[in-house]
């Protein structure tokens, strides 16, 4: 703590390689300019998208023709806004549905995995841990095609042997959920594992001594402790699922998720309705980020 305050007093002197050191003015200006440039370039594409969502033009480009909300609420015939555009609305709906299923699956199984690898001892534990990590380093495209092939093979097998045609095994929402869950579960379990490592197991011992059973201990002691990590993991899972493209691409059937339908529209030539959808996307995420920022800064202040 003493060190930290020391930094802050030194910091007032300005010029720095790090906060505490003096540097030439030109270096400082150059560095700051680089950082400002970085953040400007980072946000310019998003600002341009948002701005052009409100441009009264049928193309998503300049010149500026005046402000309009038609790309959100327009009923046509020239401008059909997002709230009347069935293709994009359906995309949002499908993505939402998929994300809910993926979040439920990955949070449940991811938490199980955290308990398994942190609190249980078993044979081949390292091998299974390696298997659990592996989906993170396999390209999303590969996860997509391998599941597509696997599901198709099972489907063909079932059809040939017992004459059963299982619709869920051909591309569609079920396979999309499976594909996304296969690697998103790893993210959740790593988040929960990180928190579980900080758990003081003597609390469990105390509960056992007081006569609690294993699942009572988990229910009333361990899970409440893990709650922030589980909620955080669920939020990450939802976002990862909602924006996933690579894995989904191969597994999607007639019901396209939002990223897939956006991709097709951009490739075929877009109208500003794509900007409107993207703006909603950016807007919701910014609110989310802002809330997250406020909550974490309040926590660190406490």
């Amino acid at each position: 703590m003493g060190r930290d305050e020391n930094y802050r007093t030194k910091n007032q002197y300005g010029g720095e390689m790090i906060r505490t050191l003096h540097n030439k003015k030109s270096y400082k200006i150059g560095y700051n300019a680089f950082i400002i440039l970085y953040f400007t370039l980072l946000f310019t594409p998003l600002l341009v998208i948002s701005l052009l969502a409100f441009n009264d033009s049928i193309f998503p480009s300049l010149p500026w023709q005046g402000f309009t909300l038609d790309w959100f609420f327009g009923k046509g015939p020239e401008k059909i806004g997002i709230f009347h555009n069935s293709r994009n609305l359906k995309g949002i709906f499908v993505s939402f549905k998929v994300a809910v299923y993926v979040t439920l699956f990955s949070t449940t199984v991811g938490t199980c995995a955290a308990f398994l690898f942190e609190h249980e001892q078993f044979r081949f534990k390292n091998f299974f841990y390696f298997l659990m990590i592996a989906p993170l380093v396999v390209p999303g495209v590969i996860i997509g095609i391998s599941l597509l092939i696997f599901a198709t093979s099972i489907g063909l097998f079932l059809e040939h042997t017992i004459g059963l045609d299982v619709r869920a095994l051909s591309p569609g929402i079920f396979l999309v959920v499976c594909g996304q869950a296969s690697f998103i579960t790893t993210f959740v379990s790593l988040t929960v594992i990180a928190r579980l490592k900080k758990f003081d197991r003597s609390l469990e011992e105390a509960a056992y001594d007081l006569g609690a059973r294993r699942f009572e201990v988990i229910r009333y002691i361990t899970l409440p402790f893990l709650r922030p990590a589980i909620i955080g993991g669920a939020a990450v899972a939802f976002l990862l699922s909602f924006e996933n493209f690579n894995t989904t691409l191969f597994l999607v059937g007639a019901d396209a998720t939002l990223p897939i339908t956006l991709f097709t529209q951009i490739k075929d030539g877009s109208t500003p309705v794509v900007n409107a959808v993207s703006f909603l996307f950016i807007f919701c995420l910014s609110i989310f980020a802002l809330l997250n920022f406020l909550i974490t800064t309040r926590k660190t202040k406490q």
Binding site: Y7, M17, I18, R19, T20, L21, Y31, F34, Y38, L41, L42, T44, P45, L46, V48, I49, F59, S61, L62, C112, A113, F115, L116, E120, F122, F128, F130, L131, M132, V137, V138, P139, V141, I142, I145, S146, I149, T152, S153, A181, S182, T185, L190, R214, E243, F245, N246, L249, F250, L258, P259, L262, F263, I266, S270, N275, F281, I282, F288, A289
Partner: protein
């Protein structure tokens, strides 16, 4: 007493183990084994069935395939390197230079664009760069250019898009390791008269190696397996290996060759990751954090 506690713990083991086992087997291990098996099978539409190496030999016999493969790897390495060069000073600024108050805000700011879907990010770049794009319009309006220039659909725009889209995944791990670098080391070197380049090369970079390595691995993997950015921002000749796989699956309906190519992609990305970890002596469990 001890006995009953033990049996209960075994029971809980199965409650945790079964869902995890089913997840890993049915959503990961078996699909990948099936991918491998299918890659050695003859294409069902050509009538040849049973074991064949044909899917793999066609990779080496047709230059378009292995050239695209080599191209994809080369560009992936280039993008990873550029991303690293940009991320190092930005990460250093956020951890060591900026005021402590600003740090949290900057961390949030670098995250936001990356939570937005990659399709949306790339779309923003397209709106900026294309022939009727914002940059062209502005420069024309100011009379700096006489007629619009197409800045999209070439290798450079593709690289720009890939860099833009993967930066965060380099920043986060590097910020993580730079946080743990003791400022006193830099101060001491500075007091002893070391130049900035020396401080970077002898202190900051060596300390950041674990973060750099995990960043490079994640970025390389995301780039080599990327589909959106080369498809939307690359030119006619900027084909990417994932596009060849996609075409085999969707357009040519040649799943077996697609499976073989997919497996090649899996092998090369695993090899690079393995080599990266060997060089820096890390384990996979530390890299993914």
């Amino acid at each position: 007493m001890l006995n009953s506690k033990r049996s209960k713990i075994r029971w809980s083991f199965f409650v945790f183990f079964i869902p995890v086992f089913l997840w890993l087997m049915f959503l990961f291990v078996l699909p990948n084994l099936e991918l491998l098996r299918m890659s050695f099978m003859g294409s069902r539409f050509l009538g040849e069935r049973g074991f064949t190496l044909g899917n793999y030999t066609s990779f080496f016999l047709e230059p378009i395939y292995w050239l695209t493969f080599v191209r994809t790897i080369g560009f992936s390495l280039l993008v990873t390197f550029i991303v690293l060069l940009i991320a190092l000073p930005v990460a250093f600024y956020i951890t060591k230079v900026t005021k402590l108050k600003l740090k949290g805000l900057l961390m949030t700011l670098i995250m936001v664009p990356f939570w937005v879907s990659e399709v949306v990010r790339v779309y923003g770049l397209i709106l900026l760069l294309r022939e009727s794009g914002v940059i062209n319009r502005i420069l024309l309006a100011f009379g700096l250019w006489e007629k619009p220039i197409e800045m999209l659909y070439n290798d450079a725009s593709m690289v720009l898009g890939l860099v833009y889209t993967t930066l965060l995944f380099m920043l986060v791990p590097i910020i993580g390791v730079m946080d743990s670098l003791d400022d006193a080391l830099i101060e001491a070197a500075y007091d002893l008269g070391a130049k900035k380049v020396v401080i970077w090369w002898k202190i900051i970079v060596p300390h950041s190696v674990p973060g750099i390595m995990s960043g490079c691995i994640v970025v390389f993997m995301l780039v080599i397996g990327n589909f959106i950015t080369p498809a939307l921002m690359g030119g006619k000749y900027s084909s990417w290996f994932t596009q060849i796989i996609y075409n085999d699956f969707i357009a040519h309906m040649n799943w077996n060759r697609g499976a073989a190519f997919g497996f090649l992609l899996l092998i090369i990305s695993s090899l690079v990751i393995w080599a990266g970890m060997k060089i820096t002596g890390q384990k996979i469990s530390t890299v993914v954090k």
